[in-house]
Symmetry: C2
Subunit: 236 residues, 2 copies
Amino acid sequence: MNFAEHPFVAASAAEDRSASIREQLRDAIIDRRLAPGTKLSEAEVGELFAVSRTVVRAALQMLSFEGLVRTERNRGAFVANPTPEEARQVFDSRRLIEPAVATAAAARITAADVVKLRRQLEAEDQLLGERGALARRSEIRTSGDFHLLLATVAGNGILLRFMEELVARSSLVIALYGRTGASSCGHSEHEQILAALVDGDGARAGELAVHHINHIEADLDLRDVRGLALREALAP
Amino acid sequence: MNFAEHPFVAASAAEDRSASIREQLRDAIIDRRLAPGTKLSEAEVGELFAVSRTVVRAALQMLSFEGLVRTERNRGAFVANPTPEEARQVFDSRRLIEPAVATAAAARITAADVVKLRRQLEAEDQLLGERGALARRSEIRTSGDFHLLLATVAGNGILLRFMEELVARSSLVIALYGRTGASSCGHSEHEQILAALVDGDGARAGELAVHHINHIEADLDLRDVRGLALREALAP
DNA sequence: CGCGCAAAAATTGTATGCAATCCAGACTCT
DNA sequence: AGAGTCTGGATTGCATACAATTTTTGCGCG
């Protein structure tokens, strides 16, 4: 039952399959097709992607480093289930890093960058118009891509990688604790940030970024309500 | 709540051998017993630690994520050889994160923390007194531990992990580009920062942290002089 | 003497087998 | 019945075997 032509795959080429699996799993986690706490059995994942456990393990290790899965020795890997405290730390970190990223981006942005960013905003717009849970999920991920694009423009590869992790974890947090997924990442705020960037107004871009993050976090319900942590998850 | 002490420690190295190997390799890289560009052959490392290539690969993958080794597909893993540009990015990132860490630490520091930090400073003092290249190397690493301790006190696990990576890469950069390894991490500045912390003066602690990083970077020689990049390394 | 070029050697990428560990459920004893 | 214990099955951790790829070596030729 290992038929190669599976729905996914197709994505990147045959080379570096563990990276490909990592990305697909990450996407699935981020838009919550995989619920937090879900067990990611090596054999099962391997069968799904038609690879051996070896490469699955590599992918899971990467995701573990990113904080998207939690691994327990001799027990396996599970989709991360961030606590409210961890969620706060994620947003604290973003509040620290993103304004600096925005400011740096303002100083380095090029016309080509602007084009890319506008395209990104259009993609958001489109999803915003659509209805349905699937669109909501894609919206969260797409919205995160805007922030990553910004970090790319900023030109600091290390901060970009940090941002990748933070954005991914944010998506997970939003999916978990978000009240109105819709306004999760106010679209107009992205536009305002972009406007500040093209004006070359780094300071304003930074401020807007902070406000933006505050708004996102304000939409979360981070009350400690984990009384029923008897079993982290119940879906095998 | 199985929240293992993340910072260093590593508990007993007996279990999880890949983590143990990762730490030993990291230490070796940081104090430059392993020169940048050195090839880390899986078989060789495995023989050295008496484990199979499987666990070596896991360790190398982790180090690759940390930016301490660079892996090329089908070619292997090499000790990272950061460019001046990467070095600047490391310090830019630290200038961004560390003041916030210091400020947060000032707000949360406890008496027990102060004791730990003082002990750390004493260890630095001792190494500062010793002569020899080995002491210099240990000094760089120990000095970094002060910063990590600070990040632990700050209480944000995510930023702590970022700091771990940044400090490790800094050590590598200092070893590579440092002029006077001795003053690489002015000891008195650590003391000043600690003093600000016990005063509860977060703002001052933050400022001192920035100055401190500036001093470290000022001691580097980051001119682009990589003309002889014919072979990244010559020591097999 | 240097320059391609092909085969061998070495090294990494992946799959698979085995031992150790964990979990679920049946069983026993009180 | 309830609590503890034991055993069977499943899953992970690790080592090893094999395939794919790169690097080196050896050789003939200009």
